[in-house]
């Protein structure tokens, strides 16, 4: 990155503008898509297809009265939205939009900045972005805000771990931490040698790192506080969560940060798993597809697809309960990521043709065994219940139980049965006669007028 200062400025401004426009677009897009899903028109008054609706909303929000609670910690109350927005925008700096192009006679890459560990910038920004939420909730001096902030902090930190572990698999596979290098690394297929049988896997990591990709996508939704994981701002429980006491431009900033984060996370996912700006097919189909300005189309197309995914989730899924959500994060995503990393490491050693055969077999087989053992031993929900019936002996013939308690005589049972049913029928509506067994009525399993009876066979 040896751009002159003016070019860097231009690119910085461009990134900013693109992000703001994308946010405005995304809000409209979300409302329209959800509207289509719910069979209603959605915003369609301002501008063509209602495209200017979000601009109008934003302007209106900015001109509203700005209030501040008396109990608020004033400095932090103002600083919190600034932190949130700054971190959100900064993260986008390292996303590569496209290959090298010529801009005002200067050859440069379509990326604001890039260096050795640029993926970490995004992770660091999302780590710092939590400050905005937490401080907003704390400084408001209101119970809803504080609870929302606590939830948000716990949520983002928890899902950051799963997210980081998913990204780790990409680092692991590419041995790179630079966004543009990772995109380049995905351009080539991965040669695989299975005992003399050679084949080339597609380079995009969402295929060979499929578990990581799935975990990343789930964690990404949790990280951006979007439905179905939008617990910090769960309207029905916490009004607007950490932003309850905010109004006007400050409130708009949180909104802006959230949508920018969505875009950033989508872009990061595209960069890490979906080949970045590369054309979505074998590159041979159109040689010029990955040159010049054209990759911008692929890049933003993929990002928009992800945004659609976000909206789709929101339109489809109900919100999780908080404990379910945390359980998913800590007990499913994190362990699965960890095991997958181990399996990936073993597979990498096992498939490396440089090692000798026993080692390869041992590692690949070990990985397979681990996976199988996991599938096998995955803890089931139901605790094991030992059979309560005494052993009926060989071939199912009834034998006396070992503790020598004589079971009640079956003849006595049959005699008891009719009187019981008689008592029951006297109390309720007349039942079909001769029903030998009557099940206890479960609550809400039906009206008492038609008690369930087991049909005689």
């Amino acid at each position: 990155m040896n751009d002159p200062l003016w070019l860097m400025l231009i690119k910085g401004v461009l990134v900013f503008v693109v992000l703001v426009l994308l946010v405005l677009f995304t809000i409209w897009y979300e409302r329209r898509v959800v509207a289509v899903m719910q069979v209603r028109p959605g915003p369609n008054r301002n501008g063509p297809f209602g495209l200017l609706q979000s601009l109008a909303d934003g302007l209106k929000l900015a001109f509203k009265e700005d209030t501040m609670p008396r109990t608020a910690d004033k400095v932090i109350f103002i600083a919190a939205p600034v932190i949130a927005v700054t971190c959100a925008f900064t993260a986008f700096a390292v996303i590569p939009f496209g290959p090298e192009v010529s801009m005002f006679g200067q050859s440069t890459e379509l990326q604001l900045t890039d260096f050795e560990v640029s993926v970490l910038v995004i992770l660091a920004c999302s780590a710092l972005g939590v400050y905005g939420i937490v401080l907003a909730g704390w400084s408001s001096g209101s119970a809803y805000s504080l609870l929302g902030a606590l939830r948000a902090a716990a949520q983002v930190i928890s899902y950051e771990i799963a997210l980081g572990l998913a990204v780790l698999a990409v680092f692991f596979q590419s041995q790179l931490m630079s966004t543009s290098d990772i995109v380049e690394a995905q351009a080539e297929g991965i040669p695989l040698d299975l005992g003399g049988f050679e084949l080339t896997l597609p380079g995009w990591y969402f295929l060979i790192l499929a578990p990581s990709f799935v975990i990343f996508v789930i964690a990404m939704v949790g990280e951006t506080n979007r439905a179905p994981f939008d617990l910090p701002e769960a309207e029905s429980e916490l009004v607007a969560g950490f932003a309850t006491e905010y109004s006007s431009l400050k409130y708009a900033s949180f909104f802006l940060a959230e949508y920018v984060n969505m875009v950033t996370m989508s872009a990061l996912c595209v960069t890490l798993f979906l080949g970045g700006w590369a054309a979505p097919f074998p590159t041979s189909w159109w040689p010029a597809a990955n040159e010049g300005w054209l990759p911008l189309v692929w890049f933003f197309g993929k990002v928009l697809a992800f945004l659609f995914f976000y909206v789709w989730l929101r339109g489809t899924l109900p919100r999780l309960r908080y404990d379910q959500f945390m359980r998913l994060g800590w007990k499913v995503l994190v362990p699965v990521s960890l095991v997958w990393l181990l399996v990936l490491a073993a597979l990498n050693i096992g498939l490396d043709a440089g090692n000798d055969t026993p080692t390869r077999i041992a590692f690949a087989g070990g990985a397979a065994i681990v996976v199988m053992a996991l599938i096998f031993f995955w803890p089931s929900r139901k605790p094991y219940e030992p059979p309560t019936e005494p052993d009926t002996g060989l071939g199912g013939f009834p034998v006396p139980p070992l503790d020598l308690v004589v079971p009640p005589s079956p003849r006595g049972l049959t005699e008891l049965e009719p009187s019981e049913t008689a008592a029951a029928t006297a109390e309720r509506a007349p039942a079909p006669e001769g029903g030998p067994e009557r099940r206890e009525r479960e609550p809400f399993s039906g009206s008492p007028a038609s008690p369930k009876t087991k049909k005689e066979e």
Partner: protein, 265 residues
């Protein structure tokens, strides 16, 4: 912010001037953050001051050709550890302001004296020890990685060869710490867990009103949940009384306008 700082890495490598500028801007900020940490009355402010210092230090690491460590500092220290502090502070409640009155006799005086003495000793000792030391020739320590010479690869190589045993011990320490913290912070649940199914059944059980309880209502003097709803005849609607929140009627003084409407003017 970070982008600019990252850019300064390149600047610093090409010429020491950029590094000097960054240092003289950030060092006072870091010191100020540290002093603010000691002086701030609110623990949250202290935590934010410390976070500021840590970010400055992260930039110093990046400038000193340790970019990986710098970002790890931001992610681990600022992002995770300080967030944990904030989290605990928030659990303690909002009014955790410290009284700055010193109860131990002579403690503050002695502490400051000893601090100054230690600072003087350390500074003079360092000056003595470092005199003549310069930044090593040949640039930052790197190793051959997948993307060319890389600091990350150098750290990784060192971690997994020379320091592999400490690394493994470290992982053990972290695991033990996590489990230990769980054990410390764990509070046994009182009574049986209340499942969703059971709660739903109880809610619709005979004798229970399944809907939400009524809010304060139009005749109430306040919209707090602690305020019982008033029926048109002025009596209290029993269902609006919460099981957990003691009912409270505002006094006349409390219901009077609070003069906060024109606060911004």
């Amino acid at each position: 912010m970070i982008v600019d700082l990252a850019q300064s890495v390149d600047l610093a490598q090409s010429a020491g001037v950029g590094e000097a500028i960054a240092f003289w801007i950030l060092a006072p900020i870091a010191l100020g953050g540290a002093i603010g940490l000691v002086l701030a009355r609110s623990a949250i402010h202290a935590a934010l001051m410390l976070a500021l210092t840590m970010i400055c230090l992260a930039v110093f690491y990046i400038m000193q050709s340790a970019p990986f460590l710098g970002f790890v500092q931001i992610m681990v220290y600022t992002g995770a550890i300080m967030m944990l502090f904030l989290f605990v502070l928030m659990l303690f409640g909002r009014d955790s302001r410290d009284s700055m009155f010193e109860t131990l006799r002579g403690q503050r005086f002695l502490a400051i004296c000893l601090g100054i003495g230690l600072a003087a000793l350390l500074a003079s000792g360092l000056a003595h020890a470092v005199a003549g030391l310069t930044i090593a020739e040949g640039g930052p320590p790197t190793a051959e990685g997948a993307g060319g010479d890389s600091n990350v690869a150098a750290v990784a190589e060192s971690l997994f060869t020379t320091y592999v045993f400490p690394f493994e011990v470290m992982s053990g320490v972290l695991t033990v710490a996590a489990v230990g913290a769980l054990m410390f912070a764990h509070v046994a649940r009182k009574g049986q867990a209340h499942g969703q199914k059971q709660a739903s059944r109880e809610r619709f059980a005979p004798g229970n009103y399944p809907g939400p309880l009524p809010g304060p209502g139009v005749f109430a003097t306040s919209d707090s949940t602690a305020t019982p709803a008033l029926l048109p005849d002025g009596t209290v609607e029993q269902q609006s009384l919460s099981e957990y929140v003691p009912p409270r009627q505002l006094t006349a003084a409390e219901t009077a306008p609070k003069q906060t409407e024109g606060r911004d003017e």
